[in-house]
């Protein structure tokens, strides 16, 4: 995707209040087309509210948002834009008296796909989510995981430019989770923007390019995973540094010794070369330098704790 492409999703101070309860407070973000964007937060943070606002299922109390270029406030344009949007709700049940194929056909009709394309679209979706063998069974007989797969298949119909997935792996076993990650990667490969709502950090960490962390209806941080997960420590294996030499490294951060390994905490990535030079200047021999990334979980917890403290 070129930089000139309009963002798939953009919001400005998008807010939703239910009486005195603020479900979402001033969400401002921009998601470039083709990104896999993780929307991360604890239960009740306002993630589902954000998705419902973006889909026109709920109306914002204030602020504005654009989905595939169509403003939320422009109902007709937004409705038209939804032809290019696939959505997997968090809690849902399809018509249990229909077969999976019939559910997909209904959605082909609702999207407004050309009748000639239905069969190919349905076959494609059923194949991707692994339901081809059970396509003619009633949805009522499906397990929770199969229903989730069907939901994902419905969201993929019509090759949407944007797919919003609300907790897509919540009902799935490890194999199912792996499959969903593969589907997300396949979507990214064909240029689809994916908005992934989740409270599962590993899932987000594995597939997302960028992440917003939300809590209590507010975005507390947005950025590329690499930017969010700052390198805050570095481990160095060095010999030939007498004690005094090691102590001199305190200028770079808090120290921890483990034999030949020295961990310097609180050091920024830019200062790592300076650290190495300082060790060498004091006669040390450097065998290894390992930047230590914070995990998303560490970052998430530290961000959530700050406002709560």
């Amino acid at each position: 995707m070129s930089d000139a492409a309009p963002p798939a999703i953009r919001t400005e101070e998008l807010a939703k209040r239910y009486g005195r309860i603020t479900a979402l407070a001033g969400l401002t973000m921009s998601i470039p087309a083709g990104d896999v964007f993780g929307f991360l937060g604890p239960n009740g943070a306002g993630k589902t509210t954000a998705v419902k606002l973006l889909l026109g299922l709920a109306r914002p109390s204030s602020g504005e948002g654009w989905v595939l270029g169509a403003a939320l406030s422009d109902r007709d344009a937004h409705r038209h834009a939804r032809r290019g949007v696939g959505y997997l709700p968090e809690l849902f049940r399809y018509q249990h008296w229909l077969s999976a194929r019939e559910v997909l056909r209904v959605h082909c009709q609702l999207i407004g796909l050309d009748r000639s394309a239905w069969e190919a679209e349905m076959k494609d979706a059923l194949g991707i989510v692994g339901l081809a063998d059970r396509a003619d069974d009633r949805v009522g007989g499906y397990s929770k995981g199969m229903q989730q797969r069907l939901g994902l298949g419905v969201a993929l119909l019509g090759r949407p430019a944007l797919v919003l997935l609300d907790e897509p792996t919540s009902a799935l076993d490890p194999v199912g989770r792996h499959d969903v990650r593969e589907v997300i990667r396949a979507l990214k490969a064909r240029g689809t923007t994916v908005f992934l709502n989740s409270h599962l950090l590993t899932e987000v960490e594995q597939v997302c390019d960028r992440v917003a962390i939300v809590d209590k209806g507010r975005v507390i941080q947005v950025g590329a995973l690499g930017e969010l997960l700052v390198t805050d420590a570095v481990r160095v294996r060095a010999t030939g540094l007498e004690n005094g030499g090691q102590e001199a490294m305190r200028a770079f951060g808090a120290l921890q010794h483990e034999g030949e390994w020295l961990t310097v905490q609180g050091i920024t990535a830019e200062r790592v070369p300076d650290l190495v030079r300082a060790i060498v200047e004091r006669g040390g021999r450097v065998y290894a330098v390992e930047p230590r990334h914070e995990t998303l979980e560490d970052r998430f917890l530290s961000l959530l704790e700050k406002p709560r403290a």
């Binding site: 299922l57 109306r59 959505y87 709700p89 209904v106 609702l110 939901g151």
Partner: protein, 285 residues
């Protein structure tokens, strides 16, 4: 139009969940039983002699009205049971989320539901009434004066109560909305009787109560229109002799429903359906 996709879903659900089948089988049983009952009328004897032809027709006409009252009641109940959870059920199950995130407007969704329900009401009411009338005609040779008008009034009665239940369904759970719709249906029926009592005793206040209930929910007014379509001249003549007191009889109508009332019913349905669309516009599933 995407509303038609929704309408077809409503019909398919009724077929798949065996609602239509259950109603069809039960209705056939009732038609068979009442058909047998009608076939016994000519065997009634009075002082050893069979009833004269005129009497047979009179008894048949009255029995037909009572039978059809039961049908219209079953129709109203079924229409409420099907319509009351239509929208609330989709919202509760999350089906509405998946559907409304598609390029479909709220109005299309509500009107689509309504169209599907209209088809169900018309199929059931039209089919059941036509078969019953046919059976009666076959076994006792009696045909009411205006069978098509009768079927039209019964369908309209079903549509009115169904539209009300659909409006309630935009805000209330199926159970609550269904109970409210049925209670209102009962009140309208009683209101019709109360209004008749007011007429019988020439009491303007009580008559107005009857008129008001007839306007708030026009099901009883439509039922009276249906009854009138079933009444032969002899019954109307007897009723006229009994004077205004006969108006309190819920199985009797002294006069045809005026055109103004029929137009009012059309307006009522349009307004209530409009309210349903408006109400669902503001609902956030």
């Amino acid at each position: 139009m995407r509303g038609l996709v929704i309408a077809r879903l409503v019909i398919r659900e009724a077929a798949r969940r065996r609602l239509l089948l259950a109603l069809l089988l039960l209705t056939l049983v009732v038609i068979a039983l009442t058909g047998w009952g009608f076939s016994r009328i000519p065997t009634i004897t009075q002082r050893g002699a069979p009833l004269p032809e005129v009497q047979v027709k009179l008894v048949a006409s009255q029995f037909l009205i009572v039978t059809m009252f039961m049908f219209s009641f079953v129709l109203a109940m079924a229409a409420v049971f099907v319509a009351a959870p239509q929208i609330s059920g989709d919202v509760e199950s999350g089906t509405a989320l998946a559907i409304l995130s598609r390029p479909i407007g709220r109005a299309e969704f509500v009107v689509g539901k309504w169209l599907g329900l209209c088809a169900l009401v018309a199929i059931y009411a039209g089919g059941a009434a036509a078969v019953e009338l046919g059976v009666v005609n076959a076994v006792v040779g009696y045909a009411p004066p205006e069978p098509l008008a009768f079927i039209a009034f019964v369908i309209a009665e079903g549509l009115v109560i169904m539209t009300l239940a659909l409006l309630l369904s935009t805000r209330l759970s199926g159970m609550v909305g269904g109970v409210i719709a049925l209670v209102l249906f009962g009140i309208a029926w009683i209101g019709g009787i109360v209004g008749g009592i007011g007429l019988a005793f020439d009491n303007a206040g009580i008559t107005h109560v009857g008129t008001a209930t007839k306007l708030i929910l026009p099901t009883d007014g439509l039922w009276r229109g249906a009854v009138y379509a079933l009444e032969p001249q002899s019954v109307l003549a007897t009723g006229a002799q009994a004077g205004p007191a006969s108006a309190a009889n819920p199985f009797y109508a002294p006069a045809a429903a005026p055109l103004s009332f029929e137009l009012y019913v059309v307006g009522w349905v349009v307004v209530v359906l409009g309210l349903a669309v408006y109400s669902f516009h503001a609902r956030e599933p």
